[in-house]
């Protein structure tokens, strides 16, 4: 067991990222897809802050992370609004049933 370093953090973030993707792919519910996205964003944030600490980037990584959080908030709001609309239109939020784009 080495000392806790950059790789540890990156590893956590990788796992989080993969789980996020897994969630996006496997879950039917659109809200769950959103949750997956949130996971991915969090993994990215961990990377930012880890690099900010171990790379020579000063506070830029932290600032970036801050912005990502802000964007995530905006994204969540918009996405949920879309989901609501979809629900109104199709009476379902199961993304596999919404395939009108096919034609």
């Amino acid at each position: 067991m080495t000392q806790i370093g950059l790789n540890h953090f990156l590893f956590v973030s990788t796992v989080l990222f993969c789980l996020g993707i897994f969630g996006i792919i496997t879950r039917k519910n659109a809200v769950m897809v959103l949750m997956g996205i949130e996971l991915i964003l969090n993994s990215a944030n961990i990377n930012f802050i880890a690099f900010a600490k171990y790379g020579n980037f000063g506070y830029q990584g932290q600032i970036m992370a801050l912005f990502v959080i802000i964007l995530a908030a905006a994204e969540a709001a918009i996405a949920l609004a879309i989901v609501l609309n979809i629900y109104k239109t199709f009476s379902t939020v199961n993304v596999d049933e919404i395939d009108t784009m096919k034609d």
């Binding site: 956590v12 802050i49 912005f67 609501l84």
Partner: protein, 162 residues
């Protein structure tokens, strides 16, 4: 094994395990609660990385805002009366294989890479510095983000209302 290491492993475990449950639990409401733990774990990791302010923001925004929003989403898109707040899963096999492969590659990449690291001094509190940065160097971006948020809120409201 220092205290630092211990704490790290603790938080990493919370994060990873709860994230795993998030994506595997069938009940969406449960997923949402697990997501809360994930966020909490991530916040802890932030603290370990010396980003106390971000950690607080993470808690406030994610836990206090986004998560609640997601819960609302869940509630609004399922008929509350006959609670069937469960969700099916699909394509588990290809997803698992793909994600495993992907994870393998990413893991290989991060292990093989020779990261140049330095151990910078962590200041006690980052809030002051970040605050200065936000109103000086990143002032414009900050303002623009504010506007973006506003637009997003109005847009979301109007879209949801339709």
């Amino acid at each position: 094994m220092t205290i630092y290491d211990l704490i790290f492993y603790l938080f990493a475990a919370i994060t990873v395990i709860s994230a795993f449950f998030v994506v595997t639990t069938r009940n969406i409401v449960y997923s949402a609660y697990y997501l809360l733990f994930t966020f909490f774990g991530v916040a802890g990791i932030y603290v370990l990385l010396g980003a106390d302010f971000i950690a607080v923001v993470q808690l406030v925004v994610y836990v206090g805002g986004i998560l609640i929003l997601l819960l609302f989403g869940v509630m609004l898109t399922n008929r509350i009366t006959n609670v069937q707040i469960k969700t099916g899963t699909i394509k588990i096999a290809p997803a698992a294989i793909g994600v495993a492969l992907f994870a393998g590659i990413l893991g290989a990449a991060l292990l093989k890479t020779n990261w140049k690291t330095i151990n910078s001094e962590i200041p006690i509190s980052t809030t002051h510095t970040l605050g200065l940065l936000l109103i000086q160097q990143y002032a414009v971006v900050f303002e623009l983000l504010g506007i973006l948020l506003l637009i997003a809120l109005i847009g979301a409201a109007s879209m949801a209302r339709k």
